[in-house]
């Protein structure tokens, strides 16, 4: 793989105007296109433009939220990895680290609930795996329209089956989450999945590439035309009835491939064969390679013709931005490559050298040895333009009032039964019975048993050290007052942990909001972030990472502003973790609190 001279190889197609039109079609603004030309010192070609359009999209580039996220506290003696790595991580003692992150798969799930939710679980598992941690738990936070609508029931059914299909088959227990129903989510459901992983502290790997001359290996599934343009289209377009146009972007999850990938990567990590590891998510190979290079301050060359394909004759740009699932990218020293490929073969996982680390600082793409794209990695990853939000408090409520659940004062018994039977309060057993909540031999407190799940850190050595996890979020409270509603979400989550005797160690969050270019949505977002940040400071816990999902709107209006928080805490002795529920007749009932 030798670089030919740059000039001549990379030529922009068409006239300057045509190229600009193309950039706009891909979702970039005029100013962004100008910035690209200025920073490159030339016009980009089409492949480069495709890569820019994805890495500088809201989904990958956090254009509208990056500045806000700086408000989150990070200080903690327990913090091991904060935002910036694939998942956050905190020290849970005994030589172990817990990695965790929550992520949304809202739009794909609204189009194809089963596969959308399944691939959502697959994606978040790989984020945690990328740290070298074994995924030990999944939680799902879901929002749908009212269950009396056929569409909501269809989405609920598909999403739950999709999560079960994927989570059960990869052997990671699904131990918690929440479900709320409200008309505001009718068209745009929310599917947020959180994953928790455990690693020995010394075993963590980073995603920063290092060591020029080291090989870059692609592990896992074949690359097909999955989600070409999907990151920009699926993740940031308003949804409407004509979802059919986005059909080709549906991705199919393969939990079997993921299971093999997990076991394979964990063995590679355990044997210390990897210099760096990274999952392939939105924008596929482009974003993974660019991030690994930018974080390591090095360059990466990719030869697209080495990438094993599912469909013949894919274009270089398609190979670079394909979002095919169940793939990981790693950096390996040349002398270790044979050992790595032998282990992969044993796990029946494909491993292919697709490139190498360089000193150039550039992400370079080769097509059969011909240079077809060259962009500074930093420019793609760290220099995406960011925008100040212009928030404005809406003059009156944006949402129709919630449907009343209780009639005028009837007898108390009847009211209680109505409440207990209402969709937002009734038992979730029909959902969590579809999830394997016990694989892994760690689940001390399971769904339905307490307000938070409790999982052993190291079941193999019979220690009773455990982590507790829960997710929370209440769209109506946040709609009524974004700041206080968000504070309450954090406090409720902390209270959930307290109920199982856990000390909170860190928080992850997913910001599900409407279009941030609308002043009222910007206002909601700003105040919600401030609320989350202040509440975490008050509790003394860091925000270790998260995800942002904006543009959650349909013709019928925006969703309720829905920050979802996931919190992880430490339980020193799992045997002391109390369960919820009255245990014995005759016990006293005490109400604690102000």
């Amino acid at each position: 793989m030798k670089a030919r001279p740059r000039n001549g190889a990379i030529t922009a197609a068409g006239s300057p105007d045509q190229l600009r039109d193309r950039a706009l079609e891909l979702g970039l603004t005029n100013a962004e296109f100008d910035l690209i030309c200025e920073k490159l010192g030339r016009r980009p070609n089409e492949l480069e433009l495709a890569i820019f359009s994805l890495l500088w999209s809201e989904h990958c580039g956090y254009k509208h939220s990056r500045r806000l996220l700086r408000r989150f506290p990070r200080a903690s003696s327990r913090l091991v990895f904060g935002p910036g790595e694939n998942a956050g991580a905190v020290d849970v003692g005994g030589g172990f680290v817990a990695a965790f992150k929550i992520e949304s798969h809202n739009h794909p799930s609204a189009i194809e609930p089963f596969q959308g939710a399944a691939t959502g679980v697959g994606g978040i598992l790989r984020d945690v795996l990328a740290l070298g941690a074994r995924p030990i738990a999944v939680l799902d936070s879901l929002r749908f329209g009212e269950p009396d609508s056929a569409r909501s029931r269809y989405l609920l059914d598909g999403v739950v089956r999709g999560i079960a299909h994927y989570g059960n088959a990869v052997g990671v227990p699904t131990v918690g989450g929440e479900i709320y129903f409200d008309r505001a989510y009718e068209q745009n459901c929310l599917v947020n999945a959180m994953c928790v992983g455990i690693a020995r502290r010394e075993q963590l790997v980073r995603s920063a590439a290092a060591g020029p001359g080291n090989r870059v290996l692609l592990l896992g599934a074949l690359t097909g035309r999955d989600g070409i343009g999907g990151a920009s289209v699926l993740a940031s377009a308003d949804l409407d009835e004509s979802d059919t146009d986005k059909r080709p972007s549906v991705q199919i999850g393969d939990p079997f491939e993921e299971k093999k990938l997990i076991e394979c990567c964990l063995e590679l990590v355990e044997r210390r064969l990897l210099v760096a590891l990274q999952d392939l998510g939105a924008a596929g190979l482009s974003s993974s390679a660019a991030e690994m290079a930018a974080k390591g301050g090095v360059g990466i060359d990719i030869e697209v013709r080495r990438v094993p394909l599912r469909e013949p004759e894919m274009e270089p740009f398609e190979i670079m931005i394909s979002e095919s699932q169940e793939r990981m990218l790693c950096v390996v020293e040349p002398a270790r490559v044979d050992e790595v490929t032998a282990i992969c073969a044993r796990h029946e996982v494909r491993a292919t050298i697709v490139g190498q680390v360089t000193t150039t600082g550039q992400l370079r793409v080769f097509d059969n040895g011909r240079l077809v794209g060259e962009i500074p990695a930093r420019l793609l990853v760290d220099e995406c333009p960011t925008y100040e939000l212009r928030g404005e408090r809406p003059p009156r409520s944006l949402y129709p009032p919630p449907r009343p659940r209780l009639d005028a004062p009837a007898d108390l018994r009847q009211q209680l039964l109505t409440l207990l039977g209402s969709p937002n309060l009734c038992s979730r057993l029909p959902v969590y019975e579809q999830y394997d909540w016990l694989v892994g031999s760690r689940t001390v407190l399971r769904p339905g048993e307490a307000d938070a799940a409790v999982l052993l850190v190291d079941p193999e050595h019979d220690s009773r050290r455990a982590v507790a996890v829960a997710t929370d979020g209440n769209g109506w409270r946040v709609a009524a007052d974004p700041y206080r509603g968000s504070v309450e979400a954090v406090l409720e989550c902390a209270a959930n942990l307290a109920c199982v005797g856990a000390t909170p160690l860190g928080l992850t969050n997913c910001l599900n909001f409407g279009n941030p270019e609308r002043p009222w949505a910007a206002w909601q977002l700003e105040h919600a972030v401030q609320g989350l940040a202040d509440a975490c400071r008050a509790l003394g816990i860091p925000v270790v990472g998260g995800n942002v999902s904006l543009y959650n709107e349909s013709e019928r209006g925006p969703i309720l502003p829905s920050p979802i928080v996931g919190m992880l805490g430490l339980v020193e002795d799992a045997a002391n973790a109390p369960r919820a529920g009255f245990a014995r007749e005759g016990d006293a009932i005490v109400l604690v609190g102000p």
Partner: protein, 222 residues
């Protein structure tokens, strides 16, 4: 007692089974491509989704090289326990009669159920009481035991129905509430519930430990 836990690509409860077995003896993993069980006394085929359960649960795993070694071990009278996916593999491989069909409810079911020891004529129940109840979790998508009715009659007549779901506990529509069966010699047992997930009261129940204790005790006696 030396246990071998067989692992296929896609097995999920292999580490759990290993952990459970190691409470009652030495335990090690044997991979699907191995042709030798390393002198194990007892083979455990764990749960999970071998080969993704693609095509039919247990179908692809049933043909893998290690199964020849398992068959030879079973032919010698060595104890074999197939749990959940392991039960499906044993049926697909012809080591046990019948088949496991998709649950009548068409959904994956994960819950704790009660089962009854229906026969003590097996390597894993010989030390249990007839009719004794155990609390053990199930978790599966295809756990509905089915065999032609003559085969079911014959299984019952020869006391090869080893476990039944207690009344009201059948989670999948299994014929005659069957939760587990044995081969003619009683050394090969398959069941849908997960005894390896019931060996520690901290994690719910310790009733499943009885099966492992039983087979380990028989080995000492032999």
């Amino acid at each position: 007692m030396r246990f071998a836990v067989v692992r296929f690509p896609g097995s999920c409860d292999d580490r759990d089974a290993l952990l459970a077995c190691s409470r009652f003896g030495d335990a090690r993993l044997v991979e699907h491509y191995e042709r030798d069980l390393g002198g194990a006394d007892c083979v455990v085929i764990p749960g999970g989704f071998s080969y993704g359960d693609y095509l039919r649960a247990g179908a692809l795993a049933g043909l893998s090289p290690v199964m020849a070694a398992v068959r030879a071990h079973a032919d010698r009278g060595g104890p074999v326990l197939g749990i959940c996916n392991g039960f499906q593999v044993l049926c697909e491989a012809g080591l046990l009669p019948g088949a496991l069909l998709p649950n009548a409810g068409l959904r994956f079911v994960c819950r704790e159920v009660e089962i009854e020891v229906a026969s003590t004529r097996s390597a894993f129940t010989a030390c249990l009481g007839q009719g004794e109840r155990l609390r053990i979790p199930v978790k599966h998508q295809s756990g509905r035991y089915w065999a032609p009715s003559q085969v079911l009659d014959e299984l019952e007549r020869s006391e090869r129905v080893v476990f039944r779901y207690a009344p009201g506990h059948n989670p999948n529509g299994s014929e005659r509430d069957i939760a587990g069966i044995a081969n003619e010699r009683g050394n090969v047992v398959g069941l849908m519930p997960h005894p390896e997930h019931a060996v520690d009261p901290l994690l719910g129940s310790a009733d499943g430990a009885r099966l492992f204790q039983c087979v380990a005790r028989l080995a000492v006696a032999a």
